[in-house]
Homo-oligomer: 197 residues x 2
DNA sequence: ACCGCATATGAACAAGTGATCATATGACTT
DNA sequence: AAGTCATATGATCACTTGTTCATATGCGGT
């Protein structure tokens, strides 16, 4: 037998690929095994069952990639904080691995209650809370007009999400994302002009 | 045999229900037939195969429900046009049938190239074009600040889409949508304040 | 050299899949 | 009453699904 070639990771990667293409139900254990180069029964030496594979993948989706420290301090910089946030969001949107995980998320979101819970609580809520903290600081500093910080956070975040969705859809069909790549930064410009005093 | 009870429509409705819950692959011909109250073989008297059912459903998704006439004229009213648009969007978001179709769309969007094409071209592009026409008029009328109308349309539309997504997710788990129901109108207020001169 | 342990295989399973076909049923028209 | 036609059934098909199990293989430590 081959030595430590970390089959487990290969299985996860193959599963991500297949689920991102065909969904959880479309990614059969046999197809995953075939892509790794082993038989389906060998999979069960690494995972109790198919669902365990999904769980590992899901946990990767919510492994927070965003900087969460010093929000209050960094927020004082106003627009450049928003710019930083948007650029980080852009990077994640274009990262190959993260993009696949995003597809898995979108595909399974409506069919997996656990995933839904995590998306709303861990991902959405966390990002909103961070952003609303930042907007609150900006209001105190007199940088922006005053409004409900939480609502403002949603208004700022949702266009970023929508652009990410478009990027993901275009990339599946190998279409060019050039026309909307600049949208992330453009959104910051537009939004800042919308709230700056 | 029972007379004209329109089994075909029953099949479509059952299929929408099941696909909205379990995805296309999770909605087996047998399950659809069971929900209608017939055997699976009877389905094939009404549809050539399973995919034909999906095609009919997909066509319903893109049956445009939004008013498309008199955009230029109605746009002159400024904020109240945007309000109208948002409220129409809200109604569609909460309509039971449209909500199910939205779920079908989201579930299959990443797995069905035809659906992707239609979504980007027929739905997204159409809405953006209408809105950008409206914003262009508003700029000419001196109601709002000047900017790229197309981009402004996206900025206006994406939060509405995101709210719709949240509504749909909350409703699956029978959670209350009360906290975000007012977001549609709130978005119009916020956005108008962002662009009004 | 031996053993154990992790990992592989191939066969088998029960269940479910989409689809087909001969056959039956019953509401219409004639 | 007879015949037609749309629609139903039940059996059956070839195939795929997730999972299990007995068995094999070979690397690392003794």
């Amino acid at each position: 037998m081959p030595k430590q070639t970390n089959t487990k990771q290969k299985i996860i990667d193959a599963a991500i690929d297949l689920i991102a293409k065909n969904g959880y139900k479309g990614a059969s254990v046999r197809k995953i095994a075939a892509e790794v180069g082993i038989r389906e029964s060998a999979i069960y030496n690494h995972f109790k069952n198919k669902e365990e594979i999904l769980k590992v993948i899901v946990s990767q989706i919510f492994a927070t990639p965003f900087e969460t420290h010093d929000i209050e301090e960094r927020a004082k910089k106003g627009k450049s904080f928003l710019h930083q946030f948007a650029v980080a969001y852009k990077l994640v949107s274009f990262d190959r691995k993260m993009e696949k995980l995003f597809r898995v998320l979108m595909i399974e979101l409506f069919q997996n209650g656990q995933l839904r819970e995590s998306f709303l609580q861990e991902l959405h809520q966390k990002e909103i809370q961070q952003l609303s903290k930042a907007f609150f600081v900006m209001m105190q500093e007199g940088l922006i007009r005053s409004a409900d910080p939480m609502f403002m956070a949603q208004e700022f975040l949702s266009p970023l999400f929508y652009i990410r969705l478009q990027v993901s859809l275009l990339r599946i069909d190998s279409k060019s994302t050039a026309p909307i790549a600049a949208h992330f930064e453009k959104h910051v410009d537009f939004f800042w002009e919308s709230i700056a005093l």
